[in-house]
């Protein structure tokens, strides 16, 4: 039971990822597949960012101002900033992929006049 309750955050991400993955494979509409891909990538990003969190830690920004730089900085009090930075790049990649895929969907719609995969496959046979 502890296996589920203590690690409930990991279970949430796994469930989200699997929902997204099911949508990519199981849905027939191309836009729904894209939405599933987006959910999958978002769950992945959430998972990463959550690994940076620490109990009682604050945001990783050193305050500037009078006398602020004279105190020592204890890194343990700050949240780990590296996964946040990596996931910023991953979010950019996600947005760009989504943009390219949407442009492709517009091209497909113009050609086949439908976005259901079985109708498109029938048209290409």
């Amino acid at each position: 039971m502890e296996f589920i309750v203590c690690k409930y955050n990991y279970w949430i991400y796994i469930v989200l990822m699997m929902i997204g993955f099911y949508a990519i494979i199981g849905k027939k509409n191309l836009v729904k597949k894209l939405v599933g891909m987006n959910i999958f990538q978002t769950a992945l990003i959430l998972y990463f960012v959550s690994t940076a969190a620490k109990k009682g830690a604050t945001i990783p920004i050193v305050s500037h101002g009078h006398g602020a730089t004279e105190h020592a900085i204890h890194a343990a009090q700050y949240v780990n900033p590296l996964p946040h930075v990596l996931m910023l790049t991953a979010i950019v990649v996600m947005v760009s992929t989504f943009g390219v895929a949407l442009a492709l969907i517009i091209m497909i719609y113009r050609r086949y006049k439908t976005l259901e995969e079985d109708e498109i496959l029938k048209a290409t046979k």
Binding site: I59, I61, L88, S96, G99, L102, A103, I106, M107
Partner: protein, 151 residues
Amino acid sequence: MIAQFEDVIIQTLCRLLIPFIQLFALYVIAHGHHSPGGGFQGGCILGASFILLCVAYDMEEAKRRMSEKLNVIFCCLGVIIFGGIGVVCLILGANYLDYGILHKLLPVNIPEARSLGILGIEIGVGFTVMAAMISIFLNLASSGEHEETLR
């Protein structure tokens, strides 16, 4: 594909708000290393300001202020600033993107040179992200049919 919907309240509010949105976006870019923010976030907000113009008014209104030619030039300019700062560091003798060496060019000491180098990079990123957001929105919302493409 964007329907004409003229409403005095929305249009007046957008005309009042958009300059402040852009000012806030520039603030977010410039304060990236003092508070949450940075190039990507500020660029998104800048792009959103143009998209707001597009949604409130007509797409022609947005294109009058940011034509596609200017858009592509901003996109390229952003990456050239990013790569260019790195190449300047290379030419001055340090490794690529080693901003500390910029203290030979600018009259600051090494930590401030690093800070300024990162600021320059963020500005470049902000340009590119703004141009990309506007370009994605304009192309998708008109389903690729707006004219004035690069011939």
